[in-house]
């Protein structure tokens, strides 16, 4: 596995919160992508991390654009670079709100048109930039500033929406598994056509846990089976090692939920619903992997 932070493309002292996994993910993504890369970002935490004009915290060019527009801007850029005969990586790096809510149409269009790009959704499960409001990706029972009693709706299944576009490469990842993530980024960038990676991004202020527990929180998400790591090449599913292990011997889901302040006051029934949904997702993936091999 090459690239793991051989070169830093994010400069030190950004305005990210302590323990922010969004910037951690970016470090690994950019190290794997290398210098011939352009990042397209919509309004999100990353657009704050980018810094204030005339400075930038990135060593590669970053095109910061309107909230709904990143996949479409990347489409245009990718087409223009192709027309010039350039091999520059075009990576859209967007939050969950900019992906599952306001940006879903542009993403769907870009995937359907087989745009040659990599779209990464880093999922901190809320609108971080604007102060932690709910998104379609906020899980059931989680408190945000617009769901003060806990969210009454389930997390939108972005991956099945993307899978419905039948693209050459898609994967899920988590900031707590950087080698797994970097390997997936390399595969995605080697793909001709659209590639997509959905990365779980634990967020201390949003999820309300101490900053030093960011890696632990990511590991718990995977070990409890709430978050599954896998790859999908068209219809072929390959479940990644850490999730394989979790399928054999899962950690009780309470260990993931209890340390997070956003789940304060969650009912046992809601926890059961989350557990049953996670188990169903893992069973479906296992069946898909079997069926597709």
């Amino acid at each position: 596995m090459s690239g793991l932070q051989e070169t830093e493309y994010i400069l030190k002292c950004t305005s990210a919160c302590a323990g922010c996994s969004t910037s951690l993910i970016l470090r690994h993504v950019l190290a794997a992508a290398g210098p011939d890369t352009v990042l397209v970002i919509p309004a999100c935490c990353t657009s704050v991390i980018q810094g204030v004009y005339p400075k930038t915290s990135f060593r590669i060019p970053v095109y910061n654009v309107a909230f709904a527009a990143s996949a479409a801007v990347a489409s245009g850029m990718s087409a223009a670079f192709e027309a010039m005969g350039k091999k520059t990586n075009v990576i859209a790096y967007a939050g969950d709100g900019g992906t599952v809510d306001i940006g879903i149409q542009a993403l769907s269009g870009a995937l359907e048109r087989e745009t040659n790009f990599l779209y990464i959704c880093y999922d901190n499960e809320a609108y971080g930039n604007t102060g932690m409001q709910r998104s379609g990706s906020t899980p059931l029972g989680a408190r945000t500033t617009t769901t003060p009693e806990g969210k009454g709706h389930k997390k939108k299944d972005l991956d099945r929406i993307v899978a419905a576009h039948s693209i050459p490469y898609m994967a899920t990842a988590c900031s707590a598994y950087p080698k797994d993530l970097a390997g997936k980024v390399e595969k995605a960038l080697a793909t001709k056509g659209p590639a997509f990676i959905h990365v779980l991004a634990p967020c201390p202020p949003g999820w309300r846990y101490p900053a030093e527990k960011t890696i632990e929180m990511g590991k718990l998400a995977v070990k409890t089976g709430v978050w599954a790591l896998y790859e999908r090449m068209y219809e072929t599913v390959v479940i990644s090692g850490p999730t394989k292990a979790a399928m054999i011997k899962p950690t009780p889901i309470e260990e993931y939920i209890k340390p997070q302040g956003r789940f304060k006051g969650i009912t046992p029934e809601t926890i059961t619903t989350i557990r049953l949904d996670s188990e169903r997702m893992l069973r479906r993936l296992a069946a898909e992997e079997e069926g597709s091999c």
Binding site: P35, D36, T37, V38, V40, S47, V48, Q50, G51, V52, Y53, P54, K55, T56, S57, F58, R59, I60, P61, V62, Y63, N64, V65, A66, A68, A69, A71, A72, V73, A74, S75, G76, M77, S78, A79, A80, F81, E82, A83, M84, T88, Q105, A106, S108, G109, A110, E112, R113
Partner: protein, 368 residues
């Protein structure tokens, strides 16, 4: 070469000559033939461009922005609801100083659904930082698209240009059209701030009030510089193709006592009205505003002004009349006519002039 063409096909034919690297567009009546014709050119190999058939107008302009910032020539076309739907990105394109060219086929806004000509769609975008031109013939549509790229891509401007043509009354009518080899007329596009991994920069970063203020003022500075670029371009065009244009298109204005001021195809109708009024002994002239942004200096002297608006700003008045009053510091007879495709003939226009009441507003066809 002399051909015949519709307004829409003239736009597409101009795009074929100009050869943008990327076209991203979404269909809407009455612009549809433009995107269809460009798709045909790409399919038959007569236009080597990346055609991105996006899923919405927001994405059309977003894709143009992504392409343009690489330093690539970029075109799109839309109309009415499409223009409104992409409005966020329309503003972005100008703020990002991207020389995108867009044809907008002017059409009314719902509700109720109405596909006919009206200018409220593009006039709502007058404050976005786009240059705006309104054309009145098939030939002018073609010529304006060709010139728009040269003007937009001039580094003194680096702003997008919107070429507006009236829905149906221009987009779908057939007139003669001269098409010729334009090679060399538009220099290769060079975008000084293009995005490139060889020279990494942050684009669209958060920007504080001091810098933001300066960046916005720079847009206005370029707008002001664009007067000269437009004049130079129209001069160069006239020298090479023998068709000359200006900020306004004036007909029998020299010795006129009363001017009819219009945008778009109504200007051609007004010329017929002027001839009719002259026969009656009324010294009328027609002044069609071509460039709405930057708004031109006007020589109206002490003549009476009849301004026809095919648009309206509720709670204020006709948008053209408002601009004329601001520019000339003089009042006018403000006629609101042609909204939603309402038929306005030269006879109607002659009537507006005969019955003019300076200082008043008149809604044609509405019983007051």
């Amino acid at each position: 070469m002399l051909t015949i063409s519709t307004g829409n096909n003239a736009v597409a034919a101009a795009v074929r000559r100009v050869k943008p690297a990327v076209v991203a567009a979404y269909p809407i009546t009455p612009q549809t033939e433009i995107v269809e014709q460009i798709a045909n050119y790409v399919a038959d190999g007569s236009l080597d461009t990346r055609y991105i058939p996006v899923e919405s107008e927001h994405s059309a302009m977003a894709a143009c922005i992504g392409a343009s910032i690489t330093g690539s020539r970029t075109f799109t076309a839309t109309s009415s609801h499409g223009l409104l739907y992409m409005n966020e990105m329309v503003n972005w394109a100008a703020g990002a100083r991207l020389p995108i060219v867009m044809a907008n086929v002017n059409r009314a806004l719902g509700p109720g659904w109405n596909v006919w000509a009206e200018h409220t769609d593009s006039l709502q975008a007058r404050d976005t930082g786009w240059l705006q031109i309104y054309v009145s013939t098939v030939q002018e549509a073609y010529d304006a698209v060709v010139m728009a790229f040269r003007i937009a891509e001039d580094r003194r401007v680096y702003l997008p240009v919107m070429v507006n043509l009236d829905g149906f009354t221009l987009s779908h009518i057939t007139q003669q059209l001269y098409v010729s080899d334009i090679d060399g007329f538009i220099p290769p596009m060079e975008l000084d701030h293009r995005i490139s991994p060889d020279d990494p920069h942050g684009y669209g970063c958060m920007t504080g009030p001091q810098d933001y203020f300066r960046i916005r003022y720079d847009i206005e500075r370029s707008m002001r510089e664009s007067y000269a670029v437009i004049q130079e371009t129209e001069k160069a065009f006239a020298d090479r193709f023998s068709r000359s244009y200006g900020f306004t298109d004036e007909y029998r204005c020299e010795d006129a006592d009363v001017l009819v001021i219009t945008l778009g195809t109504l200007g051609k109708e007004a010329e017929v009205a002027v001839d009719m009024l002259r026969d009656e002994g009324i010294a009328a002239g027609s002044m069609r505003i071509r460039w709405f942004r930057p708004f031109p200096p006007l020589d109206t002297r002490d003549r009476e002004l009849v301004v026809i608006d095919r648009d309206y700003s509720f709670g204020c008045g006709g948008i053209l009349a408002d601009a004329i009053r601001a520019q000339t510091k003089r009042d006018c007879f403000s006629v609101i006519a042609g909204i939603g495709g309402q038929e306005v003939t030269y006879r109607d226009i002659a009537g507006f002039v005969r019955d003019r009441r300076i200082g008043e507003e008149y809604w044609f066809g509405v019983d007051a």
